[in-house]
């Protein structure tokens, strides 16, 4: 049942979304997600968490068992508003008998885009996704990456306010992925809202403003990306010289001494300064202090209950912010 809710300023406002298959399999168990207008929102979660089910419910491909909420201010499933939504499904299958250009025209016509606009936008988006020279080639001749580019173009043909992309970089090479990221950021600049479902956490990390982690049909974490990842899980203090004389004191503070670095689990800046003082007291040179922050992967792992202890996080962790050495 989809109940009508009050109009909101959220681009996507999902309230208490449930989906049960065959009266026994609870794919979604009361999902609440809010996506602000003009932001890039990432949905992540392990396999079977219900991400695709949720996206399909938003796009009316699947009927919810129970749901409230709005899409662009109108109740879920409102047909008129779907004209303002662009959608790229995961594992899409486009009709093989069409050419790229004809496919864009067909789907845009279904989205009620006028013929004149279709002509103009097809040329624009084919160019934008680098498919102009393949516009009149049949789709069954396309590679997976080309299909994906075309899929992104079709999702944008109706000049949507909200773009829902399910695994948009699937099958794309690194160069094309960077182009897609750039495209997403350009779309955000134009004021469009983007709802991304991707298993490539590094991709999400690079573009998302906010994310939600879905686990077992429930939202386990939700918030601005910075807020979720800003917590430092460990500090690493790099130095040069011999710190053996203060090893015992360092270990008393709960830190671990390596040959040229001290690792301090946790987020206690007072202890960081104490260790620096100890090292400086030995006339050692402090080369740098690196807070090891949560990555999206850590957020996800923590949410599913497989979170790492700070000591498990490798030194070459991708998300690092340098704190100027206090030497």
């Amino acid at each position: 049942m989809v109940a009508i809710t009050e109009m909101t300023n959220w681009a996507v406002d999902l309230i208490d979304v449930h989906k049960t298959y065959s009266k026994a399999i609870h794919a979604l168990r009361g999902v609440n997600i809010q996506v602000g207008r003009g932001e890039i929102f990432g949905l992540l979660g392990p396999n079977g968490a219900g991400k695709s089910t949720l996206v399909k419910i938003m796009m009316t491909v699947i009927r919810p068992t129970r749901a409230m909420g709005t899409l662009l201010g109108r109740p879920l499933g409102h047909r008129g508003k779907l004209a303002r939504v662009g959608y790229l499904p995961e594992n899409h299958r486009f009709p093989s008998y069409l050419t790229g250009a004809k496919l864009l025209h067909y789907y845009a016509a279904l989205a009620k885009v006028s013929r004149v606009d279709r002509q103009e936008r097809a040329a624009k988006w084919l160019d934008r996704v680098g498919m102009t020279q393949w516009a009149n080639t049949r789709i069954d001749k396309y590679s997976k990456g080309m299909m994906q580019r075309l899929g992104i173009a079709q999702a944008l043909m109706n000049n949507p306010e909200l773009v829902v992309l399910d695994e948009p970089t699937d099958g794309l090479d690194p160069v094309a992925r960077r182009e897609v990221r750039q495209l997403l950021m350009d779309l955000r600049r134009e004021g469009k809202t983007i709802f991304l479902n991707s298993h490539l956490l590094s991709e999400l990390e690079m573009v998302c403003d906010r994310v939600a982690v879905l686990v077992n049909g429930l939202v386990a974490r939700q918030g601005p990306l910075g807020e979720l990842t800003e917590r430092a899980v460990e500090y690493r203090i790099f130095f040069s010289g011999d710190a053996e004389p203060v090893r015992a004191k360092i270990e008393t503070l709960g830190a671990k001494l390596d040959r040229c670095a001290v690792s301090l689990p946790g987020n206690d800046l007072r202890k960081v300064n104490e260790i620096i003082d100890l090292l400086r007291g030995q006339r050692l040179t402090i080369e740098g202090v690196q807070p090891q922050r949560f990555s999206l992967e850590d957020v996800l792992l923590e949410a599913v209950g497989g979170g790492k202890s700070p000591a498990d996080i490798p030194l070459s962790h991708p998300v690092q912010k340098d704190v100027k050495g206090q030497a």
Partner: protein
């Protein structure tokens, strides 16, 4: 705009299927065969005049001759080549269209468009009927022109065969659509619609048996069931007779010259007479009642399929 887009898409999908071109080839073969025939006052020529048979039965100048020619075109050319072979090919050609629409990954994009599910289903259904319409227009149009230009028999009423053939196809195709929404399988859609087509012919045959052997009518429940079934299911067998009637033709037996009928023995004559009477009855049937009740059946089946489509999770 959405309906036109779906019609155009269905046409493109049809053109992509080899079976569409097989149907076009059959049409041109039939037209060529008709062109090889010639009707004159006292003879019929075959193979572009290479062989001549003297008879005045197909004299295009006389009413009886015209009726015989029209009956031949309707009962042999139209009924056999388009009514049977054509519909069979169309069922095979279109059987995969709804399942391919409902494939995971294909349906997702379409359902996310601002068109509600019942309308989407109906548009697709109608756009497939447009495919049948085009085939019928091509076949009937070309054979109409051959009759007019080559045989000098202009029969505007023959063009009414076009909607009749689309109706005939739609009676069978609605089953294909229903099966597709249940199973999403092309093979199941084709096979079960063909089974249904055969089944549609059963109640009239059953009724004939009851009428041929009146003593069976004492089994009241069976007799009434046969009557009910004959009323409920689409009357596919009526279509050629309505086409013949509206084109000014007669029964299939009109093709047989009176001299041949006269040569038959008494039993043969009795059989021919019975057949003629049955055909005459079909010609006299009320087309609106037959078509109306058949359309009612189709509407129920399409409504059921639409309901399945509306409630389905993809």
């Amino acid at each position: 705009m959405q309906f036109i887009a779906m019609v155009v898409d269905s046409l493109r999908e049809s053109l992509d299927r080899k079976i569409f071109w097989v149907m076009v080839a059959v049409t041109f073969l039939v037209v060529l065969s008709m062109l090889s025939l010639g009707f004159e006052e006292n003879s019929v020529t075959f193979f572009f005049g290479m062989w001549k048979q003297n008879t005045d039965h197909f004299n295009p100048v006389t009413l009886i001759g015209r009726r015989a020619i029209i009956s031949g075109v309707v009962h042999v050319v139209l009924d056999f080549f388009l009514g049977w072979i054509g519909v069979l090919l169309m069922i095979v050609a279109t059987g995969g269209m709804l399942p391919s629409l409902m494939q995971r990954g294909a349906i997702d994009v379409v359902l996310a468009k601002p068109i509600n599910r019942p309308r989407l289903f109906l548009y697709k259904y109608l756009s497939i009927l447009v495919f049948a319409l085009l085939q019928a227009v091509l076949f009937v149009g070309l054979t109409f022109l051959v009759m007019g230009f080559h045989w000098k028999v202009w029969v505007p009423g023959y063009l009414l065969s076009i909607p009749l053939l689309v109706l005939l196809f739609s009676y069978v195709f609605c089953i294909s659509a229903l099966v597709a929404t249940k199973t999403e399988s092309t093979i199941a859609a084709i096979l079960l619609s063909l089974v249904a087509w055969v089944f549609f012919a059963m109640p009239p045959i059953g009724l004939e048996v009851f009428e041929k052997y009146p003593e069976l009518q004492q089994y009241t429940r069976s007799y009434q069931s046969a009557q009910l079934a004959a009323w409920v299911v689409p009357k596919t067998g009526d279509i050629p007779y309505f086409a013949a009637k509206w084109a000014g033709g007669g029964t299939a037996l009109d093709l047989v010259p009176a001299s041949v009928m006269a040569d038959a023995d008494e039993q043969g004559k009795a059989e021919l007479e019975k057949t003629k009477q049955r055909e005459e009855q079909l010609l006299m049937k009320n087309p609106w009642l037959s078509i109306g009740s058949s359309l009612l059946f189709e509407a129920v089946i399409v409504g059921w399929a639409m309901w399945n489509f509306k409630r389905k999770d993809f």
